[in-house]
C-alpha cells in the first residue's frame, strides 16, 4: 500500500497560556482544532487558544474508525455531511498535508426486510439531495466487494446494500496534526495538559475559564469536548440531552491488501475497512451503559468479531492486536447539538456521538462562523438545542445507527 509521505519535523509550539484570549476553545480533538483553524483562516480571528486536558487529539479523534460518508436521510443532515465530504475532497491540498483520504466506497449491507426498506428509502432521499447513492443486489455487492459472503445459508444473509462511492476513510492522526499545524502557524495557541474546571461568569455572560493552570479570560468560550460535554455544561448549570457511552474498536495484525472498500452493517454491528498500513480496523457496537471510563466490556468485542467472521470467513485466522474504547456523546435523535446557549458568549458543539469524525472539517467551518458572527451558521441552525423543546428533531437513527 502507499507509503505515507514523511510528516513535518515541527507541528506546533507548546506555548504557556496567556492571561486572555478573544476566543477560548475547550477540547483539542478534531472539532476543536478545525474550529481554531477556520476561525483564523475564514474570519481573521487569531487571538485564540485551544485548551486540552490531556494531549492533543487523544480523545475520540485518535480512537475512531475514520469512516467518511454523507448518505444521511434528512435534508438537514445530508446538507452538512455533504458539505463536509466536499471539504474532505480538497483538504489535503488546503492543509498541505497528505491525509491519506481515500474514496474507496462505503458499502452499507442489509440483513432484514426493515433495513432493506430503510436503505432503499435512503438511497432515493440521497439522490434527491444530489448525493451519490446506489442500491446493490447481493450479487452486485459480491461484485463490488468479492470477499463478502453472500450465502443464503448464514444466520443473517446479505439482502442487498447501499453504496456511496465517494465515501471512504482518512488517517485520523494526520487530520488532527494537519489542522493543528496550520492553526499554530496562524498564531493560535494549542495548550495541552490544561483542563477546564469551571467558568468565570459575569451575570449571564461568560468572561473566562478556570483551569488547572489558572484563570484565563475569554471574549468567547466554545465547547468542543465530545464525551465530556455534559460534565462541562453542568459547571454552568446547563443540562444537555446527552448520554455518554463507551464505543469500542479494534485492529488486526498487518495484512496484504484484501479489503477494497469500507463495509458497514447496522443489523449485525460490523464495520470494517483496511487501513493504509494493512491492518483491519473494526468498530464494535456501543456498550449499553453510561460511562466515562474509556473502557468497554469484552463481550461487545466478541459479538462484533463473531458477526464479522460470518460476513468475512476469510478473516477467520486473523489476530486481533489491540482493542480500545472512546466515550461518545449520544443525543435522542442521533444528530449533533450546535450553536448558542442561554449563557451569553458560550457556544456548544457536541452530540456528534458515534459519527463526528466525518464532520470534522464542516463542524469546524460552521462552528467558527457561529462563534465569529454570534449567529448559527445556516447549515447547523437546524441542530440548535431548542429543537428538543420545539419537537423539530432530526431523527438519524436509520443512517447513523450504532456506527460511525
Amino acid at each position: 500500500m502507499a507509503e505515507p509521505h514523511p510528516h513535518p519535523q515541527q507541528l506546533w509550539r507548546n506555548p504557556e497560556p496567556k492571561h486572555s484570549y478573544d476566543v477560548v476553545i475547550v477540547g483539542a480533538g478534531g472539532h476543536g482544532l478545525a474550529t481554531a483553524y477556520y476561525l483564523a483562516k475564514n474570519h481573521g480571528i487569531r487571538n485564540v487558544a485551544v485548551l486540552e486536558r490531556g494531549w492533543l487529539a487523544g480523545g475520540n479523534m485518535a480512537r475512531n474508525t475514520t469512516v467518511i460518508r454523507s448518505n444521511y436521510l434528512w435534508d438537514e443532515s445530508a446538507a452538512i455531511y455533504e458539505f463536509s465530504l466536499k471539504l474532505w475532497e480538497g483538504l489535503s491540498v488546503e492543509l498541505d498535508y497528505d491525509l491519506l483520504f481515500s474514496q474507496r466506497g462505503v458499502l452499507g449491507l442489509t440483513h432484514s426486510e426493515h433495513q432493506v426498506r430503510e436503505g432503499k428509502r435512503r438511497v432515493s432521499a440521497n439522490q434527491l439531495d444530489g448525493i451519490d447513492a446506489e442500491w446493490l443486489t447481493p450479487e452486485e455487492v459480491k461484485a463490488f466487494c468479492p470477499i463478502v459472503n453472500i450465502s443464503p445459508e448464514v444466520r443473517y444473509p446479505v439482502l442487498g446494500g447501499t453504496l456511496q462511492r465517494r465515501g471512504g476513510i482518512a488517517k485520523h492522526d494526520y487530520v488532527a496534526w494537519a489542522f493543528a499545524r496550520k492553526a499554530d502557524e496562524l498564531g493560535i495557541d494549542l495548550i495541552q495538559n490544561c483542563e477546564v474546571t469551571g467558568f468565570d461568569l459575569d451575570g449571564d455572560r461568560v468572561i473566562g475559564v478556570h483551569t488547572n493552570r489558572g484563570l484565563i479570560a475569554a471574549g468567547k468560550v466554545a465547547l468542543c469536548a465530545a464525551g465530556h460535554s455534559s460534565a462541562l455544561a453542568a459547571m454552568v448549570g446547563l443540562d444537555l440531552p446527552i448520554q455518554t457511552y463507551p464505543l469500542q474498536a479494534l485492529v488486526s495484525e498487518l495484512l496484504e491488501p484484501v479489503l477494497n472498500c469500507v463495509v458497514l452493517s447496522n443489523d449485525i454491528h460490523v464495520y470494517v475497512s483496511q487501513a493504509h498500513k494493512g491492518e483491519l480496523v473494526m468498530g464494535a457496537g456501543m456498550d449499553a451503559y453510561n460511562s466515562y471510563a474509556q473502557r468497554g466490556s469484552p463481550h461487545v468485542i466478541e459479538y462484533q468479531v463473531a458477526a464479522a467472521l460470518e460476513l468475512f470467513p476469510i478473516f477467520s485466522r486473523v489476530h486481533v492486536v489491540r482493542t480500545w474504547a472512546g466515550i461518545v456523546d449520544v443525543t435522542p435523535d442521533a444528530s449533533p447539538i450546535v450553536g448558542l446557549t442561554r449563557i451569553e458568549n458560550l457556544f456548544i458543539n457536541c452530540g456528534w456521538g458515534t459519527g463526528g469524525f466525518k464532520a470534522t472539517p464542516a463542524a469546524g467551518w460552521t462552528y467558527a462562523h457561529t462563534i465569529a458572527q454570534g449567529q448559527p451558521h445556516p447549515l447547523t441552525a437546524p441542530f440548535a438545542l431548542e429543537r428538543f423543546t420545539t419537537g423539530a428533531l432530526v431523527d438519524e437513527h436509520g443512517a447513523a445507527a450504532v456506527a460511525h
Binding site: S230, A231, A234, L240, S291, Y292, A293
Partner: protein
C-alpha cells in the same frame, strides 16, 4: 463487569439489560406542563461523571428490575439498599 442482583447475587453483565439512569417520574398532570418541562421529561436524563442511579433487569436470571448506584468512571457498584428497587 459483575452486577449485584438483589435476588441472585453477583452475575456477569451479559445476563442483564440496561434500563438507563433512573428517569424523572411521569408528570402528574401532563396537561399543565409547558413545552420546556415536557422536553425535560422526554429527552433529558442524568449523565454524571461519577455516581449514577440506574436501572437494570436480570433478563437471563430472575427477570426482576432493580436500582443500583454505579460510578461512571470506575464502574464500582453500590448495591441497592432495598431489593424492590
Amino acid at each position: 463487569m459483575l452486577i449485584p442482583c438483589p435476588w441472585c447475587g453477583d452475575r456477569e453483565e451479559v445476563e442483564f439489560r440496561y434500563g438507563g439512569p433512573v428517569p424523572m417520574g411521569y408528570p402528574p398532570d401532563p396537561q399543565t406542563v409547558d413545552d420546556a418541562a415536557w422536553a425535560r421529561y422526554l429527552y433529558y436524563r442524568p449523565n454524571p461523571k461519577g455516581a449514577l442511579e440506574e436501572r437494570w433487569v436480570h433478563t437471563a436470571g430472575c427477570r426482576r428490575w432493580f436500582t443500583v448506584t454505579r460510578d461512571t468512571v470506575t464502574n464500582e457498584i453500590t448495591p441497592a439498599t432495598d431489593g424492590s428497587g
